[in-house]
Symmetry: C2
């Protein structure tokens, strides 16, 4: 990896992944209409985005269809129907799903890659689940998929745990290892340290480093830029920053920053106008004080989501005092 | 200046300036109640903030009192009445005002520092006004004030112009030179380059470098951190990021980041709950797509403000197309 990446112009090897449907879908238990998903899909193609993550491939037993929308399971029937005419080569867009260790019946549901519209399986896991994650990655690779290893909540574990996980991931066929700031807690200093750790651990394997940031401290975009400057070649974002709680790195800011002329901002503006901004009438996301506080305290945003859904949701002082007391 | 500042712990010499009333006041032509201003004042003291900028000292001829609130002029009578019992030494808080070159009758309105509750005059100017700015700084310094030089809209001028301005400021008694990203256009790379330019130009003078960031690209806080990491010892912020258009670096994020135990977050949470969040019912500020676009295109946010006040204010595509065409 170069000490300073040539980011001011552009790197053709830098690829952008849209996770609006997968991560944003957590806002409403993945009850997203086909129309919405297809609008995001058309936008990804028009904007020159490289990957679109269309949902989770998680267990119907753990996430009953009565409570969770279809993009939580992404069964092959759904994908074949909605993306019937998908052509990764012609569109330049690869479709991906995320499968969580401990939450996915991956042995039962994954079909060979050439039978699926999917090209990529992203394996998400907590540190203690790394053994299953390795099995999942290898299983998906055997089926012909491109894979990635997404170690979640990295701000909540120690350096030694991180090293252990990276040692286990290194020999797998995962093509990407993603720095995942689930709690939106990391300042630039930590992004840099993690990038150097991940990059050193994967040196010589050809694996790419990715970045997946949340916006609790209004650093989702800034941390994504920082990782890119250091050399990360895979960046996650969502349209309008759509996502649970404080949301994600906003695609419109990321594409505005990148200098590769294949990326087009206008289709994203159109999607925001027609499909994302209207959601704000019924759904709230984006940084606000309760998420600032969970981010600063390195806590899961659930505490803030619960507070905001409660009756006393203007009483920021109570929320602050309770969280400080609990730490 | 050290190559890498010891920012992870804290630097006692790092000082925070609240400009909620001065810069945030632009939202409603500085028609802010005494009660609001005093609530911010009490919060600054309780939170350990070093400076509070209470408004502009600008001309009543150019800003007639029928159209502009009292914090646009900050006449000494107002300040003496509202801050009657102010004691900078006891509270640890210095009061500041901003005077704009070309918009301030500074020779008529400035009184000797020992006759005023003010300790600091911040002189704001565009590059072409630097000669008047130098006169203003020296005049205020003669009256006993601490002064700062705030070159505005630095993203819209060339390196040669910046050098010329810094050469003119260097021999003055300004104790601080502030990097001002008026359009919220700067990425980290430019913040770094500007910091190094300002810092080299002021080397040996004892002058401090300050940072004043806007949030068009959701980088207000990130750029403030970046400048602090590089060595900037003066940082501007507003409560809740309150400010015209996309707003400013939010004080609650800045204080959460700083490790000096004198800074307290809780009083800011209380102010946000009781005085800032309620303003959102009638006033909009903070990053959104139109401000993202003006920020990316290095345009004054007025274009976005005008668009958002218009009847067709959901038609982001029209706004985007018009701005791209005009560039």
């Amino acid at each position: 990896m170069p000490e300073k990446a040539p980011w001011v112009t552009y790197r053709p090897e830098l690829k952008v992944l849209d996770c609006t449907v997968r991560d944003g879908g957590l806002v409403n238990a993945h009850r997203l209409s086909d129309e919405f998903v297809l609008a995001v899909y058309a936008t990804c193609i028009a904007a020159g985005i490289d990957y679109m993550e269309v949902g989770y491939k998680n267990s119907v037993r753990l996430f009953p269809p009565a409570e969770f929308g279809p993009w939580r399971h992404c069964d092959e029937g759904l994908l074949n129907r909605v993306f019937e005419h998908h052509d990764a080569e012609k569109t330049g867009l690869k479709l991906a799903v995320m499968a969580d260790a401990g939450k996915s019946d991956w042995r039962e549901v994954l079909v060979p890659c050439h039978e699926s519209v999917l090209d990529v399986i992203r394996v998400a896991f907590y540190a203690h689940q790394v053994s299953e994650a390795v099995e999942m990655i290898e299983y998906a690779a055997d089926l012909g998929y491109e894979t990635s290893a997404n170690l979640m909540a990295v701000s909540s574990i120690s350096e030694v745990e991180i090293d252990t996980v990276l040692d286990a991931i290194r020999p797998t066929r995962a093509s990407t290892v993603v720095i995942v700031d689930s709690f939106g807690h990391l300042y630039r200093e930590r992004i840099e340290a993690l990038y150097r750790t991940y990059s050193a651990a994967m040196a010589g394997t050809g694996k790419q480093i990715g970045i997946h940031a949340h916006n609790n401290l209004q650093l989702g975009f800034a941390n994504t830029i920082d990782a890119i400057i250091l050399g990360a070649n895979r960046a996650d974002a969502t349209m309008g920053g759509f996502g649970r709680g404080a949301g994600n790195c906003p695609m419109e800011l990321l594409l505005g920053f990148l200098r590769n002329p294949k990326f087009k901002l206008r289709p994203v503006v159109e999607l925001l106008q027609n499909h994302i901004e209207p959601l704000r009438e019924t759904t709230h996301w984006g940084p606000s004080l309760p998420y600032n506080i969970t981010g600063q305290l390195n806590r899961h945003p659930n505490a803030a989501i619960k507070f905001l859904e409660g009756a006393d949701n203007k009483n920021y002082l109570r929320f602050f005092d309770e969280l400080v007391r609990d730490c």
